[in-house]
Symmetry: C2
Subunit: 321 residues, 2 copies
């Protein structure tokens, strides 16, 4: 059943022991939203726990400072920013199948697996929804809550650069800044700091960039050799995904990375009406209109060719339209 | 004489023919501020002209759409975002020496060369000041004016990433978004699009990056040869300025570019309490705490050494503090 933010507030207010679940491979939005909501609910005297099947990366540990979770039998289990039950992670998927009472999410692709779903697909981040929800619940937005929410708002919009950014995003960001969010340091950590190994990897990746189809497609391919030369590894590869699409005239940007078994993971980013998920679906992957992924089988040139074939089909269809 | 925004509004309202001057090598803030102010003054029935000693780069041409400037004998000559008379450019410096009636600026290093100076060093951009000034003057902020101002607000803060970004910056950005600024396209053009020649130049620049003082300083030096190899030129160099400082642990990031005469322009970006303008002032330049610039005399290694000497002094002073 779909419910709105006011009904969501009532549901939360009527429960005393609340478990908040984040998605696996946690990011700034799922963690920022859950920790902000946890802090708000604690202000209201609730027992709350935030949980995630994966470890919390160190850049997000500030969100958990001063939070102490007791063990309890939850009266309400809430998934935050989790579009699909399987995104909770392998262990948690089985554990919570049929047990999620409420999902608060902003993904249009939400699988509606929870009993009640508060879904705003036009919201750039779950954090925007939590900001409004805390307002409805009369929670005092402390500087710490503001920082948790600002992390979600900024990371899910690429620091206000992605097309999901709305007037409301800017307005909420301004409110959170006013309420004491540590905007400068948050942005430095997530957008303006490169490790030396990442900087070296980026340089090698940019050198590897090749153009296809009258420069409408740009492709970079990060090999295991490049990871070695840069002293880097797969954990630093995500930030490369946006680079090929940034080149003027490029409609399809592809970032491939070689896996240890010699196969490749590809991340496809597109502009405008070109459907990245259509490209990746034909190769066994999936995703969204503007960002999708798939696995490709090596060797390298075979992997590149199989992807380029689908890219070309999509570009041709777009140009004929 | 220093005057505030209210006195500035009065001065502008009491003049009918107003010339607005931008700095040479014009950027989003000087042009966005001047064109927004011009449009506001035209609403009030004034004759206005915006002028700059250099040609307007094509990315900024939208600011001038629909603006038609007549020739007139100005009653008031106003420099916008121009910290020093010489920044008007060689030809204009002589022409306007002793003739600037008013300067509206946010550079702490402003040389106070104008008869009246409206200076807010804590303002992240001149555009923030113009936004407030237009409010005082009861100008209707049209979507076009909002877009001109948003360009200044976003470009002078590196899209809200630099330390000059304040709560007020976010608030004004939100207001401008609400008033119809074309935020998405502005951000795409200035932050998310690279020409192929810029992408090539960036690659060469990153290859040239060297580290000094236990990696606290990173320096890139773009030579005329690199411009040639990338098919690029000086107009594309500004965006490189932020790259060295992004590397983890770097406190002072330096981007140098070789001029056609064999000398160098340096752009210095710092973190925390390290004063970029102090470094540059000792070399005849100036700017802000976190971002400043100066000219260095070649050959290349001489230029690098003279700058590094001042960087070291500033880092040493900082570490002793």
């Amino acid at each position: 059943m779909r419910i709105d933010l006011h009904e969501t507030a009532m549901l939360l207010e009527n429960s005393d022991k609340i478990l908040l679940l984040c998605h696996a491979h946690p990011d700034g939005d799922t963690l920022g939203s859950a920790t902000a909501l946890a802090r708000g609910l604690m202000q209201k005297g609730k027992k709350v726990k935030v949980d995630c099947s994966d470890a919390i990366p160190k850049d997000f540990s500030f969100m958990f400072e001063g939070l102490e979770f007791e063990e309890f039998e939850p009266e309400l289990i809430v998934a935050v920013d989790v579009a699909d039950l399987k995104l909770l992670g392998k262990d948690y998927e089985g554990k919570y199948t049929g047990k999620i009472d409420l999902c608060i999410d902003h993904h249009g692709s939400n699988m509606l697996y929870a009993e009640k779903v508060c879904l705003e697909p036009d919201s750039a981040s779950a954090a925007e929804m939590i900001y409004l929800l805390l307002g409805i619940m009369n929670v005092e937005i402390t500087p710490k809550i503001a920082s948790c929410l600002f992390t979600g708002v900024s990371t899910d919009t690429g620091c206000f650069r992605f097309s999901n950014t709305t007037v409301r995003t800017f307005e909420i960001a301004a409110r959170l800044a006013k309420l004491g969010a540590d905007t400068y340091n948050i942005i430095q950590v997530f957008f303006e700091t490169k490790t030396k190994t990442y900087a070296a990897l980026e340089r090698l990746a940019l050198e590897s960039m090749r153009f296809y189809f009258s420069d409408k497609c740009a492709l970079i391919c990060v090999t295991q050799d490049m990871f070695r030369r840069a002293g880097s590894d797969e954990s630093e590869v995500d930030r490369l995904a946006n680079l090929p699409r940034q080149v003027e005239g490029v409609l399809v940007g592809v970032t491939m990375r070689e896996l240890k078994d010699g196969n490749f993971k590809a991340s496809v980013r597109t502009h405008g009406d070109i459907d990245a998920s259509a490209i990746c679906k034909r190769l066994g992957g999936g995703g969204h209109m503007g960002a999708a992924g798939c696995t490709l089988y090596g060797p390298k040139q075979t992997a590149i060719n199989s992807l380029l074939k689908e890219v070309q089909a999509e570009i041709d269809a777009y140009i004929i339209d």
